[in-house]
Amino acid sequence: MSLVPHLVNGVALGLLFALIALGFMLIVSVMETINLAHGSFFALGMYIALVVMSPGDGASALLSEYRSLTVGWRYAIALIVAPAIVGGFGMLLEVALRRTYGRDALYGLLLTFGAALVIEEGIRAVFGSTEKQLPLPDAVSGAFMLGDLVYSKYRLFACVFAAVAIALLWLFLQKTPYGSIIKAGAHDSEMVRALGINLARLRLFVFALGVGLAAIAGIVMSPIWGIRPHVGVDAVVPAFLIIVLGGVGSFWGAVLAALLVGLFVGLSGAYASEWSLLSMYLLFIAVVTFRSRGLFGKKSVLDV
């Protein structure tokens, strides 16, 4: 049995894990807040994308015209609109979080945990508990042959999308003045404030960006994982693990950790299938035992 397909699959899986963890990493780095609602925003992004892509049976001319768009266009629109809406919800949560800043970290944890429950129950109340499916553009549906194995076109698209998203976020943080402000905010928020930058607005923006990224990850993952109200749990746990494994605050640490997790899960799935889920935790324990700050724990967003 050839090892190569499983190595490729592991890297692909790692890119998807990285996409899931990006927003979580951004919020932890800049705001030092562990957003336990990350998974719920991930799920909310899926459901809002579902509405954007299939907006019901309304008879208005605008809606009819919108429905006549191809699935590909509606998918592209969903990738923009849904994260924007979820970002709005994220802003509301950030406003609620403000009273917890400077206090015991448990307050923030509890608040975001409570928000996660509320969002999940809200989804259940509005959309029900049954499985939903996101329509897919024809261009990324189906499979293709590589050697004598079949691969999913959509998975390839998702991996390329994840790689592009990682690169764009890095460029944004590294090459734009907004990125510089975010990094400075992560490093020394008091100094940023002293320089006349509105710290509250910065945090609001970063939080919205972080949950928007969670929503994007949700939309991209929905054809692979399926859409159900509690799907967020499947996202928040690996996201948290990856951030700690990579080293809190390290952009490339998180990406590398995600790739490692992907490889471990992929290879263990192929060669010791009963260990496939546990393998990421074993990797985590092994690394943290010898390096409690994670792989790149000393670095911060400033060092990307």
Binding site: P5, A116, D148, G232, V233, A270
Partner: protein, 458 residues
Amino acid sequence: MTQAAKGDGERAVANGDDPRGRACSDKPSSPRDPARRTLLGAVAVGLGGATFFGPWKTNHVWAQAAQKKPLVIGLTMDASGQYAASGGEERLGAMMAIKEFNDKGGVLGRRIETLHMDTETTPATGSRVAERMITRNEAAFLIGGLHSGVANAISQVAQKYGCVYFNTNSSSPTESGKDCHRVKFVWDGNGTNFAEAIVKNAIKSSGKNWILLTNDYVWGHNTSKATRTLVEANGGKIVDELMIPQNTRDFSSYLIKLQQIKPEVVAAAVGGDDIKALRQQVVQLGLQKRMAWINNQQDWPDVYGLGPEQIFGVFGTNWYWMLDLPGVKEFVATYQKVYPGMAIQVPGNVYYNGYVATRELLRCVEEAGTTANIAVIKKLEGRKMSARDRMQTYDAWIDAATHQCQQTIYMATYNDQPKVKDDIFKILTQSEPKDVMDADAPKACKLETYEATPTYET
């Protein structure tokens, strides 16, 4: 994440107004209740007579009975975790049967209340919930089980106290085999029943080289074990068995391995959210066309809402809403009337099992004229139920040796010519119960004696 009611009781009178149950007090009467005040006064005056009346528990039962204490049924369904969707449907089924009895005045003149706690698809939670329902909430009976590990955990606690427990939907052969109990009754077909119904034909039609996809817990293990035995007995070969941990969301490495091994048949014992994700990912690769797929049992909530392509392969069920049998149409109409606007618009096997099991329990209580556990158990053991009454093709019965309901087992596939919306199954075969019985269960099952089972009555 969990539902709001997670880990907390939610007690309701089943009246059909609210399918999720209506919260109310745990206490059946308030301290201002005159009858209760009189009683308390009498107890206060006659403190010295406490010994005469016996232990406090006995006094309590006597006092409550005098007030026609509501009959509390503990509903132990998952509301979160892998089987959350099925847990909700199963609960609605039980509530429907209870509503029908309450509409007639309850059972033995007592109104029926339900108390639901989320068992979280976690055995430890199942134990905790069962313990609490029996010791603190005085549940007369416990009903509900999707995950065989959870059902086993609940039944151990139930047996300790003697509380009758209905495992309505979990299907590990061990539930009516080595993990059977005098107080436990198993209502769904088990992995062996479904394997008996399909393996022989599948070897003839699809090939001898099989691979097993096994959910890595008690149901998956024992269902795959039964499949392996039958495949090998019929001249087939198991070329590999891949364990799938619960809550697996990415099956890519398994699917690559399947392509490398190239089996003729893939026999999956995968359930809940896992099978939904697996089906989606198989279709993305088109693997449903490259090898034959068998899913031992396909629960309705796990397939409802999936597209036609994703309902591939052959799978087992013990009931379908479009069976052309007496009573089915009316049963479906009642579901739609009582639970309008549900995401699942027609009932499936999980709802059905919840309903018929609860209905049978309440009938037995009425026939026994008591809620005393041994009397109810004796009514259930060996009980015969007509096909017409159960809306199945053949008569069913409860095996006195294993406490499993022996019933019709259907094999189905996707219906590409649906008569109406949601007519997504095409029934391929219907097996008589005697032809698909789990022959090993009576050997493995050692029911506790009546004497070793504590008496229990509330």
